[in-house]
Amino acid sequence: MGTPQPFVIYPARRVITINPAFPFGEAVAVAGDRILGVGSTDELASWGEHRIDDCFADHVIMPGFIEAHCHVMSGGLWNSTYVGYFDRRDPQGLLWPGCTSIDDVLERLAKAAADMTDDSQTLLAWGLDPIYFPGERLVARHLDTVIGDRPTLVLHASGHLATINSALMDRCGIDETATSPGVARGGDGLPNGELHEPAGMMLAGEAFADMMKANRSEQARWRYANEARNAGHTLLTDLGTTQLWDPEQLGNWKKVTSDPTYPARVMVAMSNLFGATADPAELAELCVQLKSEQTDKLRFGIVKLILDGSIQGFTARISWPHYYKPPPGHIGNGMWLTAPDQMADLVEPYHRAGLTVHCHCNGDEATEAFVEAVEQVLERYPRWDHRHTVQHCQLTTPDQYRRMAALGMCANIFSNHIYYWGDQHRDVTVGPERAARMDACGTALASGVSFSIHSDSPITPLGHLHTAWCAVNRVTASGQVLGPDERIGVPDALRAITIEAARQIKMDAEIGSIEAGKLADFAVLEDDPLSVDPMALRDIGVWGTVLGGVLQPAQISKL
């Protein structure tokens, strides 16, 4: 049989295939949405009738990056104004410099308010991280001085707090008579605008609902994919944000991914969260059903569960000696979001349905509970190659990695934490020793556990070059190296963001490396990640992607 169809050869500065049997090529040939082959231009030309496109002659081509843990909220939040501490690029490609002081935050908000035309609209903002403003506190009074009467809500980066202004407090009936422990008070004993935890935040009612509603829209899905494309990603997951039993949310996924110009593939996890039926067997059945109807761009087959909270929120389940310097009044350990002794029963129906279970485990106690559950389920229903994955996997211990390897489990490690909160983990949450072995890519590698690394966007920004940079260098925001012995080499980091990520969502037969027959999904880079100084990895420019053979240049988008 000859050439499938007339094909295109893209000569490149270098093609990094992530295929150990054929690691590099000078060019890649694409026929339709598939890779015809990698090699020299001459070798590829011998397939038959072709066209040579030199547009990537100066670029380095890699398999498209695969983010195996992020949330569509990442696209929805850009409906609100970003006031985070770190620089962040929005889906339009615009760089939002970090707000590194309370004054910066206020200035950003004042500008956003001034730009609003509809007087009745609430100003919504997100990403405030007061952990970087010790001793200071953004309160309603500050907001009032710069914004005045327009109701305003600022969601903190942790997701556990919001600060609102007096106008919104008035509208929500929050005054000195408030009895909710979620309503924080200032030195004068009056509510200061901070709303704590769900019980407090829900008092902001509709403003809050507006912010969350944005996540369900088509626009959020476009922005999500645009942001991904601009960072070199060709596949995103949505790990438990979508209520797949809601026709509107599922319909919006179907709608956007059926548009040929939509710039990403999406793997949407089934989750038991947010008002699902309590019966996992029903959810498993729904997931299997969706999987049978999946398309090239819209995928199903993974399930998201959750066991504990977060380390920086002191709610992750960490074994003794627990937290290092918890805040006063802390109960000692974190909290379970699912009863650990129910995990096996919860995993079983998904496991039996042939699905892959991804479980949020930040603390090592959570990892232990999940690993044990998988062990029990495997005893009941042996199954090869399930690839059940410990998500976040931040404090997983070497013995746990050994068990995971034996059980055929995968890890998706939250490497971005090293940079964004590594200093706090060393100094406050878990202390120097355990911080040094957090997000242990080195141990995962040595134990033979297949692992990927992730951003958990919107928790930290989407962008695998940065995430790989974290795993390789383990440099914190203050510039210190945290746990040098857990660093991995660039080649291993590049595998983690491509083929290993594909493997844990069971798509490694189709994507994750550049090999004949696979989908033509590429990250097109301005420089060679294997040649630059590892500390410069995150600074490599991204031209854009190729998705199923279609060029997707990074761009200022119309949305």
């Binding site: 909710s180 438990g240 947010f274």
Partner: protein, 331 residues
């Protein structure tokens, strides 16, 4: 006058303790119109999904990676309840089996709501093991400590009464603020769970005639394990007397509820017209060690007979004139 705040009952306790069984019991036995919110984290319920639907709205909410979605869920559930045709008279929240009931109770402070009680279920057969479990010991103990009413459920599974006594003593130590109540199939008297009906009749449904015998002196049996008494007040009660009453409640008292006129100073025996005018109406309540006094808007044209206090106590724990003696310390 703003509408009365919706009382909120939080039902907590570890997985399998009998929370759903209790919710169903309340829905079947109470005359109130009740909305139920299940704070379900995708738990597997052991007997299917069995909240009985009779006359109640059931809403589920759950948590995610990102906790703000929970706030969104609760706000939405509440909006849904408020926009429904007939407002419920009570909100029942079944907490997840690993939730801290105290945190769920914080929702009871939403404007328009009022936290009535935190009821925590314990599985008589399992709770000791659970409270020492390598993973959930702290969770279970935190749940027990949050209780106003601690229901030691599945008593039927214990061998004998001695075992039950011993267990309840031990649990009372872990649930320092709670009244301990034993039950099988969560069949706790509804007045113990939701408050005495006679006083709640007085407070919420005044037009209804007081039930026959409700005001008769002495104890009235409340099913097998409890008894109740009501004292009708024909005059304002001095504030210090009310405060002393609330402070004197032992864990034998499961519930107290009353609508009283509090007089600023002593002198209940020779009430003058001026004192009566100065008196302020309060709804007083107690469940476990949680006591509250809420100013109560009154209609001055109402006859005085509706001022009353009811209490429910463990059978045989208090003398017949206990409440009267506290209200009339001089007599």
């Amino acid at each position: 006058m703003s509408p009365p705040r919706l009382p909120v009952t939080v039902v907590g306790g570890y997985l399998g303790a009998g929370k759903t069984t209790l919710v169903n019991h309340v829905l079947r036995s109470s005359e109130e119109r009740i909305a139920v919110i299940v704070n379900d984290f995708g738990e597997i319920s052991i007997d299917e999904d069995l909240i009985v639907a009779a006359d109640s709205d059931k809403l589920t909410l759950a948590n995610g990676c990102i906790c703000c979605t929970l706030a969104d869920g609760f706000a939405a559930a509440l909006m849904q309840i408020r926009s429904a045709g007939t407002l419920p008279q009570r909100l029942l929240i079944e907490a997840s089996g690993v939730a801290d009931p105290a945190q769920i109770a914080a929702y009871g402070h939403t404007p328009g709501l009022r936290l009535d009680a935190v009821v925590v279920m314990a599985d008589a057969e399992q709770v000791r093991r659970q409270a020492n479990d390598r993973w959930v010991a702290d969770t279970v103990r935190m749940q027990l400590a949050a209780a106003d009413l601690l229901v030691v459920n599945k008593i039927d599974l214990l061998e004998d009464a001695d075992k039950a006594d011993e267990l309840c003593d031990w649990l009372a130590g872990l649930a320092a603020d709670a009244t301990v109540v034993r039950a099988s199939r969560a069949a706790v008297p509804i007045d113990v769970l939701l408050g005495p009906r006679s006083a709640s009749d007085a407070a919420n449904a005044r037009e209804r005639p007081a039930r026959e015998g409700a005001a008769a002196p002495g104890w009235h049996a409340v099913e097998d394990l409890f008894e109740s008494q009501t004292v009708v007040l024909d005059a304002p009660v001095p504030m210090p007397v009310i405060e002393a009453l609330l402070a004197s409640l032992s864990d034998a008292v499961a519930r107290l509820k009353g609508l009283v006129q509090a007089a600023p100073a002593a002198g209940a025996s020779d009430t003058t017209a001026r004192e009566a005018a100065d008196a302020t109406a309060y709804l007083i309540e107690a469940v476990g060690k949680r006591t509250s006094m809420t100013p109560h808007a009154t209609d001055p044209t109402q006859p005085p007979s509706r001022w009353a206090i009811s209490l429910i106590a463990r059978k045989g724990a208090l003398p017949p004139d206990w409440l009267a003696a506290r209200l009339h310390p001089d007599c």
